[in-house]
């Protein structure tokens, strides 16, 4: 380590600091003493010079590291960090950003810690979904359609078969749903398809192009057509709120943010982003449920009908399910969804 001694300058009596001078062209050190009277910087020893303080700068304080005095001739002097130097930059008319002060006091550090937690939460809960919502509207419709066509093709090839439901029955369901008035004005344009859910069982999903797919198994599971219509209203909710595109945006942005801030932690970053993403997915499901509730009430059907079929789709979850699924599921726990549906104000249909 550099041994630093402050001592009186032999000639002027000014306080001098011992340092090592480098000329910027070679790594050979020259022992020097540095002192200042406020207008000039005096260097003496193996290298002798006098510089106007306005032409010289000193590196900002950082931890307890060496400071460097940068000279106009590309030379530099390594000096230890001593309190004397803190006074000098002010004399030289140069001040740092004050970061060193922030970093060396525990109170601003603790405030920063609190700030980071609050800012992260705000970013996650409000900023990212808001930004994704706006960006989702900028995505060309043609691209969204392409994605949907591809998805439907994959589903048809590997998971579903043509519907075995009679055409008349299909038409009946579609016609009744078409007569339902959607909440809050125009419904998104949609196209209803029926499929035999060979590998996916009773199921329904909506693609961003407006294609809503429902499996025969789900139709069979319903004991009342109003249950089917409730599920369709839920899927229409996904379309109305553009959930697929928003989900895509949010997960992409989350991945980028997590990468930038947690970059060097690798696998942990990926799992954290995936976990955080699931909450967005659950929020979308709740939003679609709310849409279904208002659509059902609009058409004088008790939202309880949707709860009935949810109970049949997931009997385990309706009883409360496993504790972990609350945080690790793509959907909220079924019991929670049912409770939300039942808590929505009773419609005329119930009375």
């Amino acid at each position: 380590m550099l041994i630093l001694v402050s001592e009186a300058h032999p000639e002027s009596g000014r306080v001098a600091i011992r340092g090592r001078y480098f000329d910027g062209r070679s790594t050979r050190p020259l022992d020097v003493m540095v002192s200042s009277d406020g207008s000039s910087l005096y260097i003496s020893g193996e290298y002798e010079a006098r510089w106007d303080v306005s032409a010289v700068s000193i590196s900002e304080r950082l931890g307890r590291t060496q400071r460097k005095i940068l000279l106009p001739d590309d030379g530099l002097i390594e000096v230890p960090d001593t309190p004397q130097w803190d006074a000098l930059p002010q004399q030289w008319g140069r001040s740092g950003l004050g970061l060193a002060w922030l970093e060396s006091h525990w109170r601003p550090v603790m405030a920063s810690l609190l700030g980071v937690v609050v800012a992260c939460a705000a970013l996650y809960v409000y900023a990212l979904p808001w930004l994704a919502g706006h960006l989702a509207e900028q995505i060309p419709v043609a691209w969204v359609n392409k994605l949907s066509v591809d998805t439907l093709e994959v589903m048809d090839r590997f998971y579903t078969a043509p519907s075995k439901l009679p055409a008349a029955r299909q038409k009946q369901i579609a016609d009744v749903f078409a007569q339902w008035s959607p909440p809050g004005g125009a419904a998104p344009t949609y196209q209803l398809h029926f499929r035999d859910g060979v590998h996916i069982g009773p199921n329904a999903f909506a693609l961003p192009s407006g294609d809503i797919v429902m499996t025969d198994q789900l139709v069979a599971l319903a004991s009342d057509d109003r249950e089917i219509l409730g599920v369709l209203a839920h899927e229409l909710g996904h379309l109305q709120k553009r959930h697929v595109v928003r989900q895509l945006m949010q997960s992409a942005m989350l991945a980028i943010v997590a990468n930038v801030f947690l970059g060097d932690m690798g696998d942990i970053t990926g799992s954290a982003a995936a976990l955080l993403n699931l909450r967005y997915s659950r929020d979308f499901e709740r939003e679609a449920d709310d849409y279904a509730v208002s659509m059902m009430r609009n058409n004088h059907v008790d939202p309880e009908r949707l709860a009935v079929i949810l109970r049949k789709l997931d009997p385990e979850g309706a009883k409360g399910g496993e504790e972990g699924s609350r945080y690790f599921g793509t959907h909220p726990v079924t019991s929670e969804r049912i409770k939300r549906l039942q808590e929505s104000a009773p419609s005329e249909g119930r009375q």
Binding site: D23, L102, E103, L123
Partner: protein, 358 residues
């Protein structure tokens, strides 16, 4: 007696000329934590813009706390260049993640763009990092080129594909040797001749360990699951198998990772010279393993708050195990004149930092 005297004289001569110089790291976790948290806050509230300045501050902290022969390293990165590079990378990632997710043709185009850009990104990142690092006022540099990186990265990579991965250690060896032997300090070029076989040994050991380990685990667990009198395995057994595999893989990742990292890093640096100065790397697998395990656990338990402490611990261990054995004095390096003149000209402004990460 005579020998002793001669040795003594030689030792004395060596000392005169420089002898062994150890790297020293003086940073402290509690100190870096405060810098890190301030950086993090400012980065978040400026929506990432400040992260470029934060990177400069972080790099300065680690450079200035790394000492060789009593002199600290210095970092000169310009935050504006870092910001430009980051905007470029974020733009590319955005385009790739969002648009690529929607449109397969766009995804294909982006894939090709990334492929073509990879050697450029590697070159640019190494050049930016080295050129912005100095010691005693003399800067490091990188003499590698796009074509050179493309050759060792892609052309050699083809052989890895053809040999179904058997050439991978050779590929890594050539790639790292290319990067290191194109480093320069002042006018002095690094030379690296790490033998290929020394890359094969640890990777083969890891591979064997993996195969045997998985075999033993399978032999124990599979019968336990499926031979319970024909009945389907119970929930408890299945979850214990999953947990068993998980522990096995995490353990393998950590101990195998630290073993390979220690061996490869030692091999690389113990065969790297700069002029008359020989690098010496003495990573030890168990120390590295202990460090990685405790760091990972502490980061998990503190929800990431331990990360700055972990980084300091790793940097301290790296410095502790790295030395420069010199037959010559460290005072003789001279800046590269041409490069020096270029730095002052506008060409230095073209340097973009394309490295992403807070």
């Amino acid at each position: 007696m005579e020998n002793d005297l001669e040795n003594g004289l030689q030792a004395h001569e060596l000392q005169e000329q420089g002898a062994r110089n150890e790297f020293v790291f003086t940073g402290r976790g509690s100190e870096y934590f405060r810098i890190w948290i301030v950086n993090l806050l400012l980065s978040i509230i400026t929506l990432g813009i400040y992260s470029a300045w934060a990177k400069v501050r972080r790099e300065q902290y680690f450079h200035r706390n790394s000492l060789l022969a009593d002199s600290a390293f210095e970092y000169h990165g310009n935050p504006i260049s870092i910001l430009k590079g980051r905007l470029l990378v974020v733009g590319l990632l955005f385009a790739n993640n969002i648009l690529g997710g929607l449109n397969p043709i766009f995804a294909l185009v982006m894939g090709i763009v990334f492929l073509v850009a990879t050697p450029w990104i590697i070159c640019q990142a190494v050049r930016f990092r080295t050129w912005n690092t100095s010691w005693r006022g003399v800067r490091l540099g990188f003499t590698g080129s796009y074509a050179g990186v493309a050759k060792v990265y892609f052309l050699n990579g083809l052989l890895v594909l053809v040999t179904l991965g058997f050439a991978a250690p050779w590929w890594l060896n050539r790639f790292q040797r290319y990067l290191v032997s194109n480093l320069r300090f002042g006018g002095e070029q690094f030379e690296s001749e790490a033998p290929t076989w020394d890359y094969y040994k640890p990777l083969l050991v890891l591979f064997a360990f993996f195969v045997v380990g998985a075999g033993v685990l399978g032999a124990i667990l599979v019968p336990a699951v499926f031979m319970r009198r024909g009945s389907s395995p119970s929930q408890a057994v299945v979850s214990s198998v999953v947990v068993g595999f998980l522990i096995f893989y995490v353990g393998l990742y950590l101990i195998g990772g630290s073993y390979v990292r220690a061996r490869l890093s030692n091999t690389l640096w113990n065969h790297t010279r700069i002029g008359q100065h020989q690098f010496e790397s003495s990573y030890r697998t168990l120390r590295l393993f202990a460090l990685m395990v405790t760091n990972a656990l502490a980061i998990l338990c503190t929800l990431g708050l331990f990360a700055p402490f972990a980084k300091v611990r790793m940097a301290a261990y790296r410095a502790e195990t790295l030395a420069l054995d010199s037959a010559d004095s460290l005072d003789v390096f001279v800046a590269h004149q041409e490069e020096y003149a270029r730095a002052i000209g506008d060409q230095a402004a073209e340097l973009l930092d394309v490295d992403l990460g807070f």
